[in-house]
């Protein structure tokens, strides 16, 4: 293959030649400028004593005082711990679940059955989180919730699951798995379809059984996909799905349920402390960025795959 010419001429020349390609790009660049970069201007209120009427530019600077308040607050360690634990558990339990599902489906021979399972498992993804939380609340209700009715029939005490801190993380993560497993599996199923069938034939000739084929052909085949998904997941480690948390938690379960984002919600929206909430949100984002950079480095070093 001949090497590509390094120099393609000046910018003007390329513009003239490929102008339609650039034209197609314009809306997306605009989108990023308008909705991703322009709002960053507002981030400065994290360092200001923000008053709506003095405006962003007019409000006095407050330095790092909001960060200090947050870091010194009684709740900082707790929300950080909860955020990290919930993320970690979902990394442990929710991340492998769709991979397992995809691997299992991959070996299903009956196409009809395969399609049916796929459809049924990804349907919950399209249910609004509000409805899902309502379903969970009803299922776990101590009075007539089906889970407690079952417990009672089996001779156990009824439990008010949603008001006991110890159960919160399990409920939250299981709910996430139920809702997202099928949908997340799609990308792995697609990756599985892309594996060269010759490899399987060669493995069969070499005498590999199903288990060996999975370990030595299937998994390496989708490893790049798994790694990319993992890096993305680590990047959003601190970005817990707080909508569901806010819908499910009670003051009684704050101890295990209150995460950085639900704290930001209470501070910013319910108490109207925009500056403080922005500072906490910024803290969250910076840590998230660090995590994604680190995990990308590690991934590149050990597997050769990375986002950039």
């Amino acid at each position: 293959m001949p090497a590509l010419p390094v120099k393609t001429g000046g910018l003007g020349k390329t513009l003239r030649r490929d102008w339609f390609l650039y034209a197609i790009l314009v809306p997306f660049v605009l989108w990023y400028i308008l909705f991703a970069f322009k709002p960053m201007y507002g981030l400065q209120i994290a360092f200001k004593d923000y008053s709506v009427f003095q405006g962003i530019a007019g409000s006095p600077w407050a330095g790092f005082s909001h960060f200090e308040t947050f870091l010194q607050s009684d709740y900082f360690l707790r929300v950080l711990k909860n955020t990290l634990l919930i993320s970690l558990y979902s990394l442990l339990f929710a991340f492998p679940a769709p991979i397992l599902l995809a691997l299992l489906l991959n070996d299903v021979k009956n196409a009809m059955f395969k399609k049916m399972v796929q459809t049924i498992t990804y349907l919950p993804h399209f249910i609004s989180v509000v409805v899902v939380c309502g379903i969970v609340t009803n299922l776990l209700a101590p009075g007539n919730g089906i889970v407690n009715l079952l417990l009672e029939q089996l001779g156990f005490e009824k439990i008010y699951f949603l008001a006991v801190p110890e159960y919160f993380r399990t409920i939250f993560i299981s709910m996430g798995i139920w809702q997202e497993m099928g949908f997340s599996a799609i990308i792995y199923i697609a990756a599985l379809a892309g594996i060269n069938t010759d490899l399987y034939e060669a493995a069969v000739v070499d005498g590999a059984n199903k288990w060996k084929r999975m370990l030595n052909v299937t998994l390496p085949g989708i490893l790049p996909t798994i790694m990319i998904m993992l890096i993305l997941k680590i990047g959003s480690l601190l970005e817990v799905g707080y909508e569901a948390i806010i819908l499910l938690y009670q003051p009684a379960t704050y101890e295990t349920a209150d995460v950085i984002n639900s704290y930001v919600y209470r501070e910013g929206i319910l108490n109207g402390r925009y500056d403080m909430a922005t500072a906490v949100g910024l803290f969250n984002s910076v840590v998230g960025l660090l995590l994604i950079v680190i995990s990308n480095r590690l991934s590149k070093k050990y597997t050769g795959n990375g986002l950039w």
Binding site: F53, Q54, V130, G143, Y160, L162, A252, E255, G268, N284
Partner: protein, 528 residues
């Protein structure tokens, strides 16, 4: 970027959370048997302003689209020449819409919102102070204020000026104790008069199967307030989950010794099944569910809407009889009710923004609603359509009275009873309120059960005070709710942890918060 996403998502959520709260009464206030203000508005004639004037206003309603051309506004424009255009968005939720309006920096001529929210932006220079304009442009509103000093000082902002024209509700009674009379009869019990008797009655409800289905499925006491409904029992032990008055000072309920007893006792009641096991997740539809399936025994809730279950359930549960009772005497022997219809309890009103070109003209328009003509329009809607005049008094038409939700119907079809600045007339409500509720209201008002120490007035804070409270109080509240719920559910024994609880409150600087509250309270008293 992520921050922005959070900010955008959160309000959408909150809409969902908030939409559940407060029954129809929450939106538009209800009954009581005395007409306090005695309408000083009746005399003065409106300042004629027939020059056409187009004004923008902001009135957000989550449930309904409020247009400036609703019949009452059209009717008003005949008298005043003012036409309105509502710039508030539809959908979303209250706080979101308001915050977006503020962030846009372009306030319309008139903004309607919560009083504290309005006063908060007022002291930042967003609204026009009315004090100097009142005498000349708003004689009717001024006459009302002069006759109601308490309202006047409550709407005064922390800088001592008046910015808002409030929605003043009429009546005294708000919530009361209700109990299943048919269950009492069946078990041969009498209405409980003390906390001890109340306990015994609830116990009997729980154990003696008053609904006769052979199952122990009765829920003796419940609440539709998921977060703090358990605290509606606290007054039985003279305690409170929020601020109250004690010896002329504002104190914080959980910090008072009575709180320990209340927390211990309610935990015991909960353990014995006297309080709804699902109280934290039941939510706003609790009454619909527990009364309709004949398992709910007693509640502390709004008079009118609670009494309505007697009619609603008539077809399915012919014996169902839910009756108001006097508040059971507390542990110290006092009989009192903590909720009271505050004239400003709706926490609504409107104000003139600093962007308005001619504030005086806007104020003249606002004053129209305080004239006799305007007040009737605001309360009863359009003559010939929603009401007719009988013996000089407005009486609703049959069609209106037959509506299941009168207030919603009035708002939707005419705009009457919108919480714009004006004075509600209890007569509007008396005509359609359930007889059983009216009995209860009469009992509470005649005996004056309302405990003054639970009536902390609306306070106006300065900007610095407000900032300090927003910094210090949320952690305190979070801690109190968290610990109280745990105590309530028996996760932690009250005995032994209460002292640490009080210490923690001290560490969270509760005394600073109380100091600010008392400073503001002193200012309030001064203005009286």
């Amino acid at each position: 970027m992520k921050k922005m996403k959070s900010l955008l998502l959160a309000p959408a959520l909150m809409a969902v959370l908030v939409s559940g709260c407060g029954g129809n009464e929450g939106a538009a206030p209800s009954p009581s048997a005395n007409d306090s203000g005695a309408s000083p508005a009746a005399s003065a004639s409106p300042v004629a302003n027939v020059e056409p004037l187009n004004l923008n206003f902001y009135y957000y309603s989550q449930a309904l689209q409020i247009n400036g051309d609703l019949p009452i506004f059209q009717e008003a424009s005949k008298a005043t020449g003012v036409t309105l255009k509502n710039v508030a968005p539809t959908g979303g939720d209250d706080a979101q819409a308001w915050n977006l309006l503020l962030a846009s920096g372009e306030l319309p001529d008139i903004v309607a919102y919560q009083l504290s929210g309005l006063n908060n932006i007022a002291v930042q220079g967003a609204l026009v102070p009315l004090d100097d304009l009142l005498a000349e442009n708003a004689p009717n509103f001024k006459a009302f204020l002069d006759g109601n000093k308490a309202v006047k000082s409550a709407i005064t902002a922390s800088d001592g000026k008046i910015y808002v024209v409030p929605f003043v509700s009429d009546g005294e009674a708000q919530e009361g104790w209700y109990i299943r009379q048919d269950w009492l009869d069946k078990l041969g019990l009498k209405a409980p008069a003390t906390v001890q008797e109340y306990y015994e009655v609830l116990k009997a409800f729980r154990e003696q199967d008053p609904n006769g289905n052979g199952k122990k499925d009765e829920v003796p006491f419940f609440s539709r307030n998921a977060t703090s409904g358990f605290a509606s029992l606290f007054p039985l032990w003279d305690a409170s989950l929020s601020f109250k008055l004690k010896d002329g000072k504002i104190v914080y309920g959980p910090n008072e010794p009575e709180y320990k007893t209340a927390a211990t006792e309610t935990a015991k009641w909960y353990k014995e099944g006297l309080i709804d096991k699902e109280i934290f997740t039941r939510g706003n539809t609790a009454r619909d569910i527990l009364f309709a399936n004949d398992t709910g025994g007693s509640v502390h809730d709004w008079f009118a809407s609670t009494a309505n279950y007697n009619n609603k359930l008539q077809p399915t549960l012919p014996n169902f009889s839910l009756r108001p009772i006097a508040p059971p005497a507390s542990i110290s022997g006092k009989v009192f009710e903590v909720t009271k219809r505050n004239p400003l309890g709706n926490d609504a009103g409107w104000a003139i923004s600093a962007n308005a070109k001619d504030p005086a003209a806007v104020l003249r328009y606002m004053d129209f609603w305080w004239t006799e003509e305007g007040r009737r329009l605001h309360n009863f809607g359009i003559e010939g359509e929603t009401y007719t005049v009988v013996d000089g008094k407005p009486v609703f038409t049959e069609k209106v009275l037959n509506e299941p939700a009168v207030v919603d119907y009035l708002i939707k079809t005419t705009g009457a009873q919108l919480t714009i600045g004006g004075h509600q007339d209890f007569a509007y409500e008396e005509q359609w309120t359930n007889k059983i509720a009216l009995e209860g209201v009469k009992m509470y008002v005649d005996n004056n059960y309302f405990a003054p120490e639970y009536q902390v007035p609306q306070l106006s804070f300065t900007l610095d005070e407000d900032k300090k409270i927003k910094e210090l109080f949320p952690p305190i509240e979070t801690y109190v709710m968290e610990t109280s719920q745990k105590w309530f559910m028996g996760g932690e024994a009250v005995e032994g942890s209460y002292d640490a609880f009080v210490q923690q409150l001290e560490q969270l600087k509760l005394d600073e918060v109380l100091e600010i509250y008392n400073t503001a309270y002193a200012r309030y008293l001064e203005q009286q």
